[in-house]
Symmetry: D2
Subunit: 297 residues, 4 copies
């Protein structure tokens, strides 16, 4: 039930809105909380906050949000005013949202800082919806494709107090992958380098309670005709358990559990990219296909 | 997924049929498979066989069934013909049932021997229904209240090849509780001594995958307004994990997992009844109320 | 693996040091990291930091520590200088500790703010010790007996930025129990009111990975002759799973999992004390004995 | 705790006896029960029966044993006397063994029928050894490499009452793989076709409690320098969860959980071999390398 103070929600484009909504509600067990202006708001059902919003047409991420207090949001707004970035108030723009400030990263993806109306802590016996037992607990993190990865990382460090938990660099020091945290979880947002500006998302990850629930969900996916792309196994970076598949609407989805928590003084882990077969998994096993390492949506 | 060759199904009376059906389908996640002559047939959804049938009016057990091959059923029918017991063929009398032979125990409860049409083995990715992740896998066992406990035990031993796995006796050797197996699970049918001929059932038990799933189901019960009577903990007899509550329609229900399996040559465990506070649990903890030890439905 | 930024360690008195060390190493699977001046330092083995220190003679808690950065510790030291409390530097006083500041609560129990040398994040495949699979992951929280509960709570709120997550009060508003957090977990330190100044500890809690691991540990405790006092079940306050027993050396121990995380803006939950049978558990079941509610060490 | 009446034990050759014993005791947590005539007998520690015996030199399987009652063993001995197979009594030849009859399969591998002295049922709180929490519960099954696969299968069917649960055949009907059961578990012994008479073993499998325990054991393997060859995932045939690695001494080991149970009347599943990438896993994911499908020890 470690559900809060990390990635709060995200808005994602899907190639087929109704088919995607059906899958997220029927297979994932999410609740449809609201529809406004063509956006469908879905929640995991432990509280009234939405976790994932879907829009019709295309693929990839439109914005993602970190949850803060109103005072913290105001303070960041003042700091962002000193940058050249495009900054907007989005108070009340989404269901359950109170304060909101949105800013565009150098690569063009929007980050939002929000406070929410429902601030309860999650208690399994007091869930707001009639949840499937194996449903995701929460949105866990997001991993973006960026054609300006170093600028994006620097922006989040300099203006929004994110820290780099782990990174993979070339021998010349240029960044290939970066995992960044705002709170205590190893990463709220990761970045994968791309040359294709049309790609914005490597994957979006849902938090599951345990490896056993990832198992139950893989059974459920197979029953509904979805096959995994890679996993399950345990990641080297972040130590979280994972399984990946291409979900409805054209985006890659990760099932995640046991993400590590870090202290503010934990040092950044840096690895130099090697031509190894499988540095993605701590356990070994069959390596992912090259497409997994390079392709997003 | 160890689901077969133990208690196959049971028929139970409930004080309010529709309320009970709603609870078993909405909260337990069972599937309504059929309705015939006022009997509602419910299944756990991994295959097409029914697990629990409900009838309107009263409480307690009407009959329970063990699954066998047609040849085994015929052989038992011939053996039972030599007793004075009331023996009937019930071929095809219930949904999915092929052969059937039913016989009354000395206490009046009916035992049925059945073969079924759907003999597949259970594969989680090939479940026949869209199951809740935390739903019961199967009916696990039944524990009866008997005013003729020694006669019932002897009948099952002598004519149907049941073995006593564990028993609790008075100092004079008279039986207080008995746990009996037909297959390899520690008990398919247990017996608790009563002086009240109106009581037939101590509890009916559903098999859950793990202690974690018992946890999820306790959360679910609390969300729906049901509180536990006793547990969760681990039993001394059978080593299974347990949690008890009074379900809809007036019968006690057990959530069970990790029932031990026995070999044919495992000796019967005999304990003399003592005035101890908690011999029910291997872990200790708050003991059950006296009502738990004595009262059925 | 959500192990950091909550209770960092505690020092506890035990009636028999060697017997207690044997139990914590053999049964709990903790590592003995160091012995200095009669104090034995034990760690859970995922990193090199100690979690529990034991001293010979008596029972109860001597001090507990919260982990911070050096800069945070310095800032709190300056704030504490404005109070009348006894404040001391304890830099390097314990194994693996760097900065340290210790201050006495009104009831006399010491709170320590520490930074540590080993700031890695926990990765199961990189544990520093050869851990038992079911061993505790970390110290989880501490629950103190206080004869100055309202003063203790006010001190932690006013000078060390703790928040009250939940509390139980009398009808006149006086505090019976309080659960306080410094980071994001529902409680790092709880308080139970007592009239007995000799009692300082209600229980010390270890974090387990899951309800399944609590099960395995209850099996292990039974195998080694320890019986539970109460549980397992799920708490109303904090939503964590629990099981309690009296450990070696005369102190109550809790096995805990799934502690809720809160946001800074989550409101305090207040309940008025009632004569209910079981408000401790969200699931019901057999209530705890009165001794559980009132007696510490 | 479903531990009995399937594969009882096996004897395996290893290239380095002491290194292998160290790994099986230190990493797997098995107990060394006895050494006789160069054979080391190891047990999982829930009862006093041995599960795996190791001999120095070479790789592969020497014999495997199924547990029966004395009367059943005598009956099979009489039936086997009518064949041309080499049949021997092995009463008391191994630690804890009572009756024993051994016979050679057409491919040369020995099958043993045994009864044992310790017939208790497994109770986690009454384990005979101080077990690691994540240690295997029991030997689960064995998968043999056979250069006479159809003759081996026919022998086990005709003379020892094994049934084929699933098989994979060529288009011409010749057998590629076969999974056979004597009791109720989907397979006690599997067979993989080979042209190399020097290979006898595809893998030996240990039973783990759950997918979560497979996870813990994969963490433990990584900590000790072992990397997985394939998995974890869920098998199509048998529905069991799996993870494979090359263990010490040159043999492949499977970690297994949730093996399906079958009824005597469950029909054999037959699949025709296809050039598909991954029919091994129900979930998809990265397929195994060709070596996994063809190479044994």
């Amino acid at each position: 039930m470690t559900g809060v103070r990390k990635l709060e929600h995200a808005t994602m484009a899907v190639t087929d809105l109704e088919e995607s909504v059906d899958c997220y509600t029927d297979v994932f067990g999410l609740d449809e909380l609201d529809r406004r202006d063509g956006v469908v708001y879905l929640g995991c059902g432990l509280d009234e906050n939405y976790d994932l919003a879907l829009t019709e047409g295309g693929t990839g991420i439109e914005h993602f949000a970190i949850r803060l207090t109103d005072a913290e949001i105001d303070a960041y707004e003042r700091r962002l005013a000193d940058t050249e970035a495009d900054v907007r108030r989005t108070d009340g723009a989404e269901p359950g949202q109170e304060s909101g400030v949105r800013v565009s990263l150098p690569s063009g993806i929007d980050v939002e800082l929000v406070s929410v109306a429902d601030t309860r802590y999650l208690h399994p016996t007091k869930a707001t919806a009639d949840r499937l037992g194996v449903a995701p607990l929460d949105l866990d993190h997001i991993n973006l494709m960026s054609d300006a990865i170093e600028e994006d990382v620097a922006f989040l460090e300099d203006h929004l107090d994110f820290d780099v938990s782990d990174e993979i660099v070339e021998e010349d020091g240029s960044t290939v992958q970066s995992w960044m945290r705002h709170g205590r979880f190893h990463h709220d947002a990761g970045f994968t380098r791309t040359d294709d500006p049309a790609e914005t998302l490597h994957h979006i990850a849902f938090q599951f309670e345990s490896f056993d629930h990832i198992k139950l969900f893989c059974d459920r996916l197979a029953q509904h005709g979805y096959q995994l792309e890679y996993g399950p196994s345990r990641h080297n970076a972040g130590s979280n358990l994972f399984a990946y598949f291409w979900g409805p609407g054209g985006n890659r989805i990760e099932l995640s559990a046991e993400m590590a928590t870090l202290d503010p003084d934990t040092e950044t882990g840096v690895r130099v990219l090697e031509e190894e077969s499988n540095t993605v998994s701590s356990w070994g096993g069959s390596p992912p296909k090259q497409e997994f390492l390079e392709k997003g949506s």
